[in-house]
């Protein structure tokens, strides 16, 4: 019914059909689109950059809002000072108990005064930059001179000196 050459021809035809086909018309355009993804339009780049900047600002704002609150004097008195700031912990207790006079008026690290915020440019890249560090003024308490050491006067009994007698020298001999 089928000789070998017929069958080989049938096999080859079947194999050819299994690999028959052509790429669709849009194939080239898709390939070229994929090899040039880096050439984004300017508006798309600006949009991506502004979105990233807004995200960073939002994250910073959340961080500042969470960590920006000042501890109450009661909590300081019980804890001995805020635990998140070694600088505050190092301050004398008396100064802290009187209230944080400098911390109210002086911005913390990362915080900008309202006037500075208004002056900041709205450029996206500048918004990414951290605000300049503002360091609280150090309060140096005057060191009190130590009290003078007053030594108590020594009471010494007066010595009585008596002259030796003539027999005093032989009285101890056998």
């Amino acid at each position: 019914m089928w000789d070998e050459s017929d069958l080989d021809r049938q096999i080859d035809d079947a194999a050819r059909e299994l690999t028959a086909g052509e790429t669709p018309a849009y194939f080239k355009a898709r390939v070229l689109d994929r090899i040039e993804p880096r050439a984004l339009p300017r508006w798309k780049r600006a949009w991506l950059l502004s979105t990233a900047a807004a995200t960073v600002c939002l994250v910073l704002l959340v961080i500042l809002m969470r960590g920006g609150g000042h501890p109450s004097p009661q909590s300081i008195a019980t804890n001995g000072g805020p635990t998140d700031s070694p600088r505050h912990a190092a301050q004398p207790l008396t100064d802290v108990a009187a209230g944080p006079p400098q911390a109210v008026s002086t911005p913390r690290r990362g915080q900008a005064r309202p006037a500075e915020r208004a002056e900041q440019p709205i450029d996206a890249i500048d918004r990414l930059a951290l605000a300049p560090l503002s360091v609280e003024r150090m309060q140096l308490t005057t060191i009190q001179a130590p009290e003078a050491i007053a030594s108590a006067s020594l009471d010494v009994a007066p010595l009585v000196v008596t002259p030796l007698g003539a027999d005093d020298g032989s009285s101890g001999r056998p």
């Binding site: 019914m1 035809d13 059909e17 086909g21 052509e22 080239k28 090899i35």
Partner: protein, 198 residues
């Protein structure tokens, strides 16, 4: 000079310097060869198209490593085959093959019907159609190395040297695999009742 007359090597050189049109011409020249190689490995036209796109994109990114020792087409087909084999191994593709209907098989069945309609008598048409179905089934049941060699050899796009470079084996091995694939199919057809075969 018209871009049609420019050689592949010149187009590669232009594409290296960022000429997208030059690379587009290379895509036009070799898209079908690349697609058919991917189809030989993957069976599914959709998967083959994805792999062919990946191959061109990979080739573009590796243009600087093309030394010109082989032809651009051979180099491109080697990349294509590697992409297709990676695709074939992916679990996602297996999911699509087993769960979704096979467009490739539907196309093959349509071709079979078209082929059988040209036969003169209904009996012969039926016999030819059955035999073609059995042959297709046996081709797909072949070991991957024999099946790949047979399909690539019969695709009509590649020289044995190209196939050898794609599969990374000597030309003699390719020829042996094609011959062995035919012999195995004949033997299995005989076992199916095609008694006069082989």
């Amino acid at each position: 000079m018209s871009i049609d007359r420019v050689t592949d090597a010149e187009l590669v050189e232009r594409a290296r310097h960022g000429d997208a049109a030059a690379f587009g011409e290379l895509v036009d020249r070799h898209r079908n060869a690349v697609y058919r190689a991917a189809l030989a490995a993957l069976r599914s036209p959709a998967d083959a198209e994805d792999a062919a796109q990946d191959a061109f994109v990979t080739a573009f990114r590796r243009l600087s490593s093309f030394r010109g020792e082989a032809s651009f087409k051979t180099w491109l087909l080697t990349i294509t085959w590697n992409q297709a084999i990676n695709h074939r191994r992916s679990a996602a593709r297996w999911w699509r093959v087993f769960v979704q209907p096979r467009a490739g098989e539907e196309g093959a069945a349509a071709n079979e019907e078209e082929h059988s309609s040209a036969d003169p008598s209904p009996e012969q048409a039926l016999a030819s159609s059955r035999m073609r179905s059995d042959i297709v089934r046996e081709i797909r049941a072949l070991p991957a190395k024999l099946r790949d060699a047979l399909l690539l050899a019969q695709a009509g796009e590649y020289r044995y040297e190209d196939i050898g470079a794609m599969l990374n084996v000597p030309v003699g091995t390719i020829k042996w695999r094609v011959s062995e694939a035919r012999r195995l199919i004949r033997r299995r057809l005989r076992a199916r009742g095609y008694s006069d075969v082989g």
